[in-house]
């Protein structure tokens, strides 16, 4: 169905090719997962499939890409639209129309699908992706997860034979992600859809893949999932656990792992993970950095937070979880005084954040927004760091030193836009930390991060907490929470549902349980590192 023949891609400003010597064949009805570290060329590979590279991106394509026999050199993306559907990384950037229904119909309109058929397919798609109750809403007013589903739906409704998805679940909460993936696998099985999918959160998708394509330094190798995972530079926790225990073949799903994990569970029976001990000792002497009492915040006329009580103290890392659109980002915005409170109170370091002027505010709280680029304004990383130093009146070089600590290999002369996701996040975090705010807030920091970048992020946030900062992270990523958080708060529909130690909350519900917890259930293990430490001690 898709054929890459000795394909190389080189962009005009790059000194080395993004992809080179790619030979790849994807057959009809296959679900192929593309993995690789950030910046390895996954997105470029995907955009080659429907000809966006090189027709829209510029650059030079050598070799040949054919889809259903059509060569992308002679066929523009629009000529391939009936065969290939593409969903990009940022769903909102791809919306052409104003409302959900119109967006779902747009692709079909362009293809000239008959009116009756079109209506039926819109209804089917609304049901398939659970969008029926927002069908008339304006796209801008939807939450990130809903937007993601609309973007997928808009492409699916046109019934392409090949679907190309770039990180389709990165903005989704665990349950919504499972729904989308379940819908995809159903389409693959029932309709013979061919799916090419890039994803960083392998724990969500690797079990559904028929084949895994690993992209490393512009080179591509493809293999069966278990074999590919054994040598992949990035791997989900379940694979790490399998490698630790020496299971062969490596289990890809929780079900497979549980069947071989019996001896390991026996060996660890009766032992307590070290982390539980730590979080109990942590909550001793500490002062409150953020406290909300019966907090009500509106966005427009809609009450997004309805009476939230919460507390973040020095030295702890708190994870804020909840469905898409449940009010996580709103809570963080309110904690920085970006949104007015409608009722109750919020205090950041003892002050009402909305009453502080920006200069005082940054002495109390720092926020890394969902899009770290919002904090970056300069042409080079070096200029950005110097500006941050002057902003907070720190000694010159402070930000740069922080950045070296967080991401060692960033050059001063690079444009912030050319950094990888992880590096950009590190830069934004360094800028925020330059002001030494006692409270650090992060909104969905792992979007687009590979496992290596995530591990570095966890290490730096943990060391912040050890230095006495308080950290509040809003995220959907349960694996991150398992490695990072002391405490987990779950909000639903603007109300606080759960607030408790990470181990108890995560292990307590299947939706929020990390893979290791599922494999080791009913024992309270959350991460591979915990298991490894305990095995070593025994």
């Amino acid at each position: 169905m898709i054929r890459f023949e000795n394909v190389g891609v080189r962009f005009d400003d790059g000194d080395k090719p993004v992809l080179s010597g790619v030979d790849l064949q994807v057959d009809e009805g296959e679900l192929v997962l593309v993995v690789g570290a950030t910046g390895s060329g996954k997105t470029t590979l995907l955009r080659c499939v429907n000809g966006l590279v090189p027709h829209f991106s510029g650059g030079t394509l050598s070799g040949r890409v054919t889809v259903d026999g059509r060569d992308t050199r002679t066929h523009r993306p629009r000529d391939l639209a009936d065969v290939v559907g593409v969903v990009g990384q940022d769903p909102a950037a791809a919306f052409v129309t104003d409302t959900v229904e119109e967006e779902l119909a747009y692709g079909m309109e362009s293809l000239g699908v008959h009116g009756d058929v079109m209506r039926r397919r819109v209804e089917e798609t609304l049901d398939l992706l659970s969008l029926a109750d927002v069908r008339q809403r304006t796209l801008r007013t939807l939450s990130g997860g809903q937007q993601q589903r609309v973007a997928i739906g808009g492409v699916l409704a046109a019934h392409p034979r090949v679907l190309v998805l770039d990180e389709p679940t990165s903005a989704l909460d665990p349950v919504a992600a499972e729904e989308v993936l379940a819908a995809l696998t159903r389409l693959v099985h029932d309709l013979g859809l061919t799916v090419l999918l890039a994803e960083h959160r392998l724990e969500r998708v690797v079990q559904y893949a028929d084949r895994v394509v690993v992209v490393e330094n512009g080179r591509v190798s493809s293999n069966l999932p278990a074999a590919a995972m054994a040598m992949s530079p990035v791997s989900p926790p379940i694979i790490d656990l399998g490698r630790l225990a020496g299971w062969s073949p490596l289990p890809l799903s929780v079900r497979d792992a549980r069947r071989v994990a019996g001896p390991m569970r026996q060996a660890l029976a009766g032992r307590t993970p070290a982390r539980v001990v730590r979080s109990i000792t942590m909550t001793g002497q500490s002062e409150s950095l953020l406290s909300a009492r019966a907090l009500v915040v509106n966005r427009g006329r809609r009450a997004v937070l309805r009476g939230i009580d919460l507390e973040v103290r020095t030295g702890e890392v708190v994870a804020l979880m909840g469905r898409n659109g449940s009010g996580k980002s709103t809570l963080l915005a309110a904690a920085c005084g970006q949104l007015p409170t409608r009722g109750g109170s919020v205090r950041t370091g003892g002050f009402d954040p909305a009453s502080l002027n920006p200069r005082e505010l940054m002495r109390h709280v720092g926020l890394v927004p969902q899009d770290p680029g919002l904090l970056l304004y300069d042409e080079t990383v070096g200029a950005e760091c110097r500006a941050a130093d002057t902003d907070v009146r720190a000694t010159p070089g402070t930000t740069r030193a922080l950045l070296v600590h967080l991401a060692p290999d960033v050059q001063d002369s690079t444009h912030p836009r050319d950094l990888s996701e992880g590096q950009r996040l590190a830069l934004a975090l360094a800028i925020v930390l330059a002001g030494q705010p006692p409270l650090v807030l992060l909104d969905e920091p792992t979007r687009g991060l590979d496992y290596g970048a995530k591990t570095r992020l966890v290490a730096s946030l943990r060391s912040l907490a050890a230095e006495g900062h308080g950290v509040l992270v809003a995220t959907h990523d349960v694996e991150l929470v398992a490695e990072l958080a002391d405490r987990v708060m779950v909000i639903a529909d603007g109300e606080l549902v759960t607030d408790g130690p990470a181990a108890a909350v995560l292990a307590g519900s299947p939706a929020f349980a990390p893979q290791v917890a599922k494999v080791m259930h009913p024992q309270p293990w959350l991460t591979v590192a915990d298991v490894a430490a305990a095995l070593e001690a025994s």
Binding site: A81, D82, G88, F95, D98, L111, R137, A158, R302, N357
Partner: protein, 420 residues
């Protein structure tokens, strides 16, 4: 199978129960975008022919009332932005006339600015000097006229998203269509980005206001908005926009030529109608010729067009009411201006207190009719019933309206089914 032609969204006979329901202004639905734009152009035409501030204020009030009562909830509302732009236009105009002199001679000197001597031979232009009441008034009235036209355009934008109107751009002109969609997205995207960046700027210890901040933030904001626009163009392309064009080069050239000629004619005609200074015969005839050419190009394009339409907007009685109320309002003021009815053009030298000419005022008031006689947009209809627009189906109070809404959809489905 019952077949009756249903071209360009227009319902034709026989009038069944289905079509009758669409004629009922009580049935909540979105009107055809062209109806709102026709209404707004009518009002703009009225505004462009008068300098009477009372009449102009009336036009703005009428547009504002209709926007307030018929705008769909949750849709972008650029009306306020257009009003602010209008005020800015008036202010600029007055300031420039005060500084440079406007060519309107006046005797009532309000105050005198220090004058910079200019070399002889610069005509009526001067820098500083006496500022007269007559000059300022003439500038303010002129500015107000433009501001009122802007308000009408803003109203059309708020009532019917330009993107919905763009669905009617023929595929023969797909490059123009892409450019228009991208351009239309760019401005709101820019405003959105600017707001987000300014909020984020607070996190770095700056207020995000003032000229220095503006200079610092302008480049990244413009940059990211441009990048998004390119993303959007890529998205349209990869979803097949403009596919149908590559079929037959000759018919494409014919259709393109006709469309360009037609659009040119329409634009020139509208300009003729709006600009009081141009020859009276330039407006209407050119508009008619242009429309005919555009229609012909649509017909040629439509034969080739493989695009289909999801739930095409019907054109029924409410659309006629809305479009004609604006058209009549414009026509009445046009005729009054042609006949030289006193009060349409307010005398500024010597300055007199403007009075409201009753006939054109009544004409402008006709533009209010859509405020009562057009169907409510669906979400607003729900809101009127006192339920929240977010949970359509959960709310018991809204069940009957919801049921009605479902009926509308069924009706449309049927009418589409029949069309084929």
């Amino acid at each position: 199978m019952a077949t009756w032609p249903r071209r360009h969204g227009r319902l034709s006979k026989p009038a069944t129960a289905v079509t009758r329901a669409l004629h009922d202004p009580r049935l909540p639905r979105l009107l055809h975008p062209a109806a709102w734009w026709a209404w707004a152009i009518g009002l703009a035409m009225a505004a462009s022919r008068t300098t009477n501030p009372l009449l102009l204020a009336l036009v703005v009030a009428v547009a504002g009332y209709v926007v307030a009562s018929r705008r769909e909830l949750g849709a972008a509302s650029p009306f306020g932005a257009f009003l602010r732009l209008g005020l800015f236009v008036i202010a600029m105009r007055v300031v420039f006339v005060a500084l440079l002199g406007g060519g309107v001679p006046g005797r009532t000197v309000l105050f005198t600015l220090p004058q910079v001597p200019l070399p002889a031979g610069t005509g009526g232009v001067r820098l500083g000097g006496p500022v007269t009441l007559e000059g300022v008034l003439a500038a303010a009235y002129d500015g107000a006229r433009l501001a009122a036209v802007l308000a009408c355009i803003g109203a059309a934008n708020a009532l019917a998203s330009p993107r919905r109107l763009l669905r009617y751009v023929p595929a023969t002109l797909y490059e123009v269509g892409t450019a228009l969609v991208v351009a239309l997205t760019y401005a709101p995207q820019l405003v959105d980005d600017a707001r987000r960046v300014r909020t984020a700027r607070r996190l770095r210890g700056h207020a995000g206001r003032g000229p220095r901040e503006l200079a610092r933030l302008a480049v990244p904001v413009l940059d990211s908005a441009l990048e998004r626009s390119l993303d959007l163009a890529a998205s349209m392309e990869s979803r097949g926009y403009g596919r149908s064009v590559h079929r037959d080069a000759r018919s494409r050239r014919k259709a393109t030529a006709l469309t360009l000629f037609g659009l040119g004619g329409v634009v020139a005609g509208v300009y003729g109608l709006l600009d009081g200074g141009s020859a009276p015969l330039l407006g209407l005839p050119l508009l008619l010729v242009g429309s005919a050419a555009a229609a012909a190009s649509l017909a040629v394009g439509a034969r080739r067009e493989r695009r289909s339409r999801y739930r095409p907007d019907p054109w029924a009685a409410p659309e006629w009411v809305v479009a004609s109320s604006g058209a009549i309002a414009g026509a009445l003021v046009l005729v009054a201006a042609q006949r030289g009815v006193p009060g349409i053009i307010v005398q500024t030298s010597p300055a007199v207190w403007p009075t409201l000419p009753w006939l054109p005022a009544l004409g402008v008031l006709l533009g209010l009719v859509p405020g009562w006689l057009s169907p409510l947009p669906p979400l607003r209809a729900l809101e009127r019933k006192g339920s929240h627009p977010d949970n359509l189906s959960r709310d018991n109070d809204s069940q009957d309206i919801h049921a009605q809404e479902i009926r509308t959809q069924e009706i449309r489905a049927k009418s589409i089914g029949r069309a084929s």
